[in-house]
């Protein structure tokens, strides 16, 4: 199977106002194959979001090599990174991050603007995606007019609409109640069964159980990397 993600000797440190840079990720190594469903866990402040931002090409590593689908991404310029985000990655955030003044249809269409689709095609694909997540009856609504669970579905539809290889989700259920969280996780599971590679960060073991593989990070170092079922750490 082809590798979607390869991370080799990844370091990330933030410059401090005084003194040495503050290291957050320290020599992280792993790779993820196409079709995997990976949960990333770890204590607060351990560097999960930093790792996700790097994987999502929103941030660049201080050193080390990061490849998506065999292509070296670390060292790309801003425009190239924007292209990678547009073509290969779908991002789902904890806070949904929808444009509140735009309809659901427009929200899901926006990634297609940057992918260069015409308006008709944008709307056709966005509508398809919204029905895929069960929101075909809400296309002309605004985010404020639907529930949090539905908003997260819109965000997932938006992440999927340009057919990326990789779905990254940073605590996608963090703002949702248990019942809605399960619904969202079922959706992720279904997407994974359809062949999408999914990497998500979570604090909750119950959520991580939906995944197949777990990467556990403590203080910027990978402590465990293996099947979810065999993890005997902080549970």
């Amino acid at each position: 199977m082809a590798k979607v993600i390869e991370v080799e000797h990844l370091y990330k440190s933030y410059p401090m106002a005084i003194g040495d840079p503050y290291p957050v990720l320290k020599d992280v190594n792993f790779s993820i194959e196409e079709g995997e469903f990976v949960a990333i866990m770890g204590p607060s402040g351990s560097g999960k979001s930093t790792l996700m931002n790097t994987l999502g090409c929103l941030d660049t590593p201080t050193s080390g090599v990061y490849k998506i689908g065999g292509e070296v991404v670390s060292g790309m310029n801003e425009d190239q990174l924007a292209n990678v985000r547009s073509e290969k990655i779908g991002f789902v955030f904890q806070g949904f991050n929808l444009l509140m003044k735009r309809t659901l249809l427009d929200n899901v269409s926006i990634p297609l603007i940057y992918a260069g689709y015409g308006l008709d095609e944008q709307h056709k694909k966005a509508e398809e995606m919204l029905s895929h997540v069960g929101l075909q009856n809400f296309v002309e609504r605004f985010p404020s007019q639907i529930s949090g669970g539905m908003q997260q579905r819109v965000a997932i539809a938006r992440a999927l609409v340009n057919n990326p290889k990789l779905i990254l989700a940073d605590e996608p259920t963090g703002n949702l109640d248990t019942k809605t969280s399960v619904e969202i996780m079922n959706l992720f599971q279904k997407l994974n069964e359809d062949g999408k590679t999914i990497v998500l960060v979570t604090h909750e073991p119950d959520i991580a159980d939906f995944a197949k593989r777990l990467i556990y990070i403590v203080d910027g170092v990978v402590h465990y990397d293996g099947p979810v079922s065999e993890f005997k750490g902080k549970r």
Binding site: L58, N97, D106, I113, Y114
Partner: protein, 418 residues
């Protein structure tokens, strides 16, 4: 090849989409967009009105010189205080000077002129006329034409005949029933005169005076019958028409030399008269009109600058308010250039709409004012050019800085922004 077509297609799609995004964001903030646009509307409107006002003034100035012959030299007295003794008191020009000038090379027409006003009466009707006492040549130097009857002759001047030529306004006021004035005896300052000709209408002159209130009579008759002068044959000034504009300077020198000789001025003595090129004087006055236009437009453009600062202010607020939106857009694949275009386009759209509305409003207002004041106000190409340039320049100038600020936002920070 096919790949290129595809890329061009994508670019077109993207520019359309970015345009749509800008437009939607303007629409979704109606009040703020409207208030911002208002600044530009007022600015452009003011500039358009001021340009129209300036051009109207300029046209009025130009029109008032319309009724003047071309290639004119103006000979006027100049007071000179010679060292010690005053040279015979006042300096004057006289009809005799006109005779001297008339003989010179390059001179086509010469008219000594005395101006005055006098009551003109026919039957029960009377009118205050402005009198020009001159010679037959005045028809050329003053650019008059005879509509009916005939002009004055040299003999009329020589023998001081009581003949007059009258303007249209005089005729219509003295003869309200519409009968012709030709051959009728009218009284000017209580002296009977025979109307020899009626002048073609000229309309308004400088300062809105009616040039058809003019009465033309022989200068000799005026001096003998209406108002004498204790210096015989004294006139106000002499107008000399040169045959071609190439010869104006030569003719001017000839006149100066000839008059110095006839006045027996010693070498080195200053001229007690002056010869001015009317065309030059007219150009000077006309250029004042241009300066007035530029001044008015510059004052008005201050409000444009204020309007453009308004756009910049709104865009800066907008960029800060929409930090999160910018983060989201970047996270889902927007390049910096698209963010730049979107915000720049927003500013340009606002200034474009403002300029166009301001232009239409400004043209409308100046036309309405023109109708009220009974002046024809030009709609100039300049106004349209200014409006379009303002639309683009103000849009870019006020939008570029906020737009660059938007592209500089770090997506992670921007997403964290509440």
């Amino acid at each position: 090849m096919e790949k290129n077509v595809e890329i061009i297609d994508q670019k077109i799609h993207m520019s359309r989409a970015v345009f749509r995004e800008s437009w939607i964001s303007i629409k979704s903030n109606k009040l703020r967009s409207f208030l911002t646009t208002l600044g530009i509307i007022i600015g452009v409107c003011a500039v358009v009105i001021m340009v129209a006002a300036g051009q109207t003034v300029q046209n009025m100035i130009n029109d008032s010189f319309e009724g003047m012959g071309s290639n004119l030299l103006l000979v006027r007295p100049e007071f000179v205080a010679t060292s010690g003794v005053k040279s015979g008191g006042q300096s004057v020009v006289k009809t005799g000077d006109a005779d001297v000038i008339k003989k010179l090379k390059y001179i086509k027409a010469v008219s000594p002129i005395v101006n005055g006003t006098a009551q003109i009466i026919y039957g029960n009707e009377n009118y205050m006329a402005s009198i020009v006492a001159s010679t037959p040549d005045y028809l050329y130097t003053g650019k008059w034409e005879i509509e009916r009857g005939e002009g004055l002759s040299d003999r009329d001047v020589k023998s001081a005949q009581a003949y007059i030529l009258i303007g249209k306004t005089i005729e219509s006021n003295l003869f309200p029933s519409g009968e012709s004035a030709i051959g009728k005896t009218v009284r000017v300052s209580n002296i009977p005169f025979i109307v020899k000709g009626v002048l073609k209408a000229k309309g308004q002159g400088m300062g809105g005076v009616d040039r058809d209130e003019t009465v033309i009579m022989p200068v000799t008759t005026y001096r003998r019958r209406i108002r004498g002068s204790y210096i015989p044959n004294r006139v106000n000034y002499i107008m000399a028409q040169v045959d071609s504009d190439k010869n104006i300077n030569k003719a001017k020198r000839y006149i100066e030399n000839a008059l110095r000789e006839s006045r027996r001025l010693k070498p080195g003595a200053e001229n007690d008269f002056r010869v001015d090129d009317m065309t030059e004087m007219v150009e000077t006055v006309k250029s004042v009109g241009t300066y007035i236009s530029i001044l008015l437009a510059s004052i008005a453009s201050i409000s444009l600058i204020v309007g453009s600062i308004g756009i910049m202010n709104m865009m800066l607020v907008s960029v800060t308010e929409r930090t999160r939106e910018i983060g989201i857009r970047k996270a889902i694949g927007a390049k910096n250039s698209y963010i730049l275009y979107q915000f720049l386009l927003e500013a340009i759209l606002i200034s474009f709409i403002g300029s166009m509305v301001g232009m239409v409003l400004g043209i409308g207002i100046s036309q309405v004012v023109g109708v009220i004041l009974e002046k024809s106000v030009p709609i100039s190409m300049l106004t349209v050019v200014i409006s379009f340039s303002v639309a683009i320049i103000v849009g870019i100038a006020s939008g570029i800085f906020p737009a660059i600020k938007a592209t500089k936002l770090d997506p992670i920070e921007a997403l964290r922004y509440q």
